[in-house]
Symmetry: C3
């Protein structure tokens, strides 16, 4: 779980994912010689800070977003949310501005406006993220940003044995999106890929529990095509991978952008459930991580 911890510790709020891009490019360059398939790596100007890996003759793409929630420094000591952070008074936030590294504390006024408490003023526009406290116990991993560093981890594990497929590391997912439309365009136009799996983290709820397997999401705010969801459930059954069926009315993902893109993508969110979403203490059961990696490995073969 060393790699997962490293991923969690990278500062990459929506709109400023460059450090995650650089870490992943370095990691992929170093590791891919040990992978079964040798992917072509696409990045650079035409891709902003996103990365695409292409293995063999792809039919299905995995989307794992690189960005995290956080805060932007506004005027005085005011903070604006990036995405939907859910943190308590006193939470430690970290970042860096023209004067150097920052470790400050989150505060709220009575109207729940967010502020920082720090010995000096922080430059306008500076992004702050949760300070990481990574906890690896017998059954659980607990840390900020398992959403979606665990989704990335899953994609990198699946990459080790992947023969045919695309892996997309995307940006801005937590704050309005915007990269998936041209990434979808690229993989559809290049390789006619039109199946996608959203490698992201969902919620423990009254119907989805810790340790009972990866969640296959039948819907969230968006409704994927039922015929495609059924195919995924059939693979999980056939391959005997533990899974849970999720049915939600809220929440969204990179799947939403595939749904509304001008390409006929089928998509489904498949991911481990977590407690304490968007807090510094996101918690996932290790069994669910294992079944997530297992199911993705089968899906990339069987779909």
């Amino acid at each position: 779980m060393k790699l997962l911890q490293q991923l969690c510790e990278i500062h990459a709020p929506s709109g400023n994912e460059i450090r995650m891009k650089e870490f992943l490019l370095k990691y992929i360059t170093k590791e891919k010689k040990n992978w079964k398939g040798k992917p072509t790596v696409y990045h650079g100007d035409e891709f902003q800070d996103n990365i695409i890996l292409k293995f063999g003759k792809p039919r299905t793409a995995i989307f794992a977003h690189m960005d995290s929630i956080g805060f932007t420094v506004r005027y005085y000591n005011q903070l604006l949310p990036i995405g939907s952070p859910d943190a308590e008074m006193g939470t430690k936030l970290v970042g860096e501005d023209s004067l150097g590294p920052i470790e400050c504390e989150l505060e709220f006024d009575k109207d729940h406006h967010a502020f920082y408490k720090f010995g000096r003023q922080i430059d306008r526009g500076t992004e702050l993220t949760y300070k990481i406290n990574f906890r690896d116990t017998k059954d659980y991993i607990e840390s900020a940003y398992l959403d979606n560093r665990l989704g990335i981890y899953n994609a990198l594990k699946v990459a080790e044995t992947l023969k045919d497929g695309v892996i997309v590391f995307s940006t801005w997912e937590e704050h309005g999106g915007g990269a998936v439309p041209y990434l979808a365009k690229f993989i559809h136009e290049q390789w006619n890929v039109k199946q996608a799996l959203i490698s992201d983290i969902t919620w423990v709820s009254d119907g989805v529990d810790h340790g009972k397997g990866v969640a296959i999401s039948m819907r969230d705010r968006n409704i994927p095509r039922r015929a495609f969801v059924n195919k995924i459930i059939d693979v999980a059954k056939k391959r005997k991978v533990p899974y849970q069926l999720e049915v939600e009315g809220m929440g969204s993902s990179d799947g939403r952008e595939l749904q509304v893109s001008p390409y006929p993508f089928d998509w489904c969110f498949v991911g481990a459930p977590e407690h304490n979403a968007h807090t510094p203490d996101e918690k996932v059961h290790k069994r669910d991580i294992k079944s997530m990696i297992d199911l993705y490995s089968w899906l990339m073969k069987d779909l």
Copy 2:
């Protein structure tokens, strides 16, 4: 009105429109030999569950959505809305799961959360739709899902005499859309079509009444280009088809997706008004159905 009743009875909630697709493909295959123009039919993998009919040299496309509102079974006896259903306690809902056909009742708790009442548990993710009670009286048709089975009926009636044009049967309209972007791409790139009519059903209101003609919608939540709306009004005047001008601040349609697509589409919503929208008792005046079909027939010639 037998065809309209058949259309209303088909279970096709957003995301699971496959039965409507199959019904329409069968109907079109059987009927098109009696039509003046012989359309090319586009469907299959590249179109998910949508259908496109191309007649002659098209300039204008009709969009009629196939999906309906409904409910998804969540956990225990909970229901989540598909689109915006508006039904009372006790409404009969139908569907099917792994154990067989379902006819259950809609209930609400005091916070207006929806539940089903049924003798057994229903599979997660099962879609339920209103049980149809189709009423054909002297002046009115009353049934669930006139929105948008009447929009489909209109398109099929117009198809009988259509020389040049495209008819698109679309999906997901009631729940976030997502198909129109690639359907718009296809018809624009193939035939340079950039005019569209939204064949859908609107509301009886303080400005739009039963029996006074099809509504030409000058705006809803979205504002179509005024120059195009004016052209449509001019055709209605010239061809002496009864019509009413609608001006709304809310509501949306497939037109919204054409508006924001990366293609320069002009669009206008033109449809009969109904009472009791999104309830099991949608009600439309027969005169308005007639003027809808008449106006579409002229528009496809004159635009």
Copy 3:
């Protein structure tokens, strides 16, 4: 400031920008012989009511929206907003319908529904805009619709000396957008342009003041890519143009549509701040207009 006043006086609510298009086409045809670069002008059927000017070998596009907020006449004396107007009871509204020119007064009921007061009924669907009271004082310009006639004015001033670049005059910005997706497609596919500046007007706030320079917006509801915003700040510093950094959680612009378009656009909102946004009394400091034009001129060279 005669040109700015003329621009303010043109009736061009979202969806009916045709008069602004015609004014600009006439102005450009007449003036471009005095400009350093001779642009190619794109307009017509494939562009609805938008205009694109292409100078030399473009790398960066300026987007200036032509439309304004206003009201649509509904039924009886009811009004629906176009965009988000913010005006008081008694505000003078102007327009024209089949019976001739209109100058009426805005009223509200106790639920803040808008109405007009006029001697006769106005045609359904008629668009009304603020009556212009243009005030040019020593330090300030005050008028309705500085948002975004000042953004257009800026683009036209920059055009006088522009060597390489694109200027896009866009539509529908105030009411849901819809033109930017295909305009972005066009300029990206034709010339591989993927940098954009949003020439629009922002707010005086607790962090942005009158007269202290053009605002470079680090974020609003959307978050542009930080690497691109940093480049813009660097140009402002290097070229010693007065500027202010804006950081907001609300508000949006043509930048949002570039962000979510299927093209990898970097964008940044760069514009003078105003008091009394969306009222008939929008007020901008002349020094901020000057620094806006100066910064755009440098950015089009340096980016």
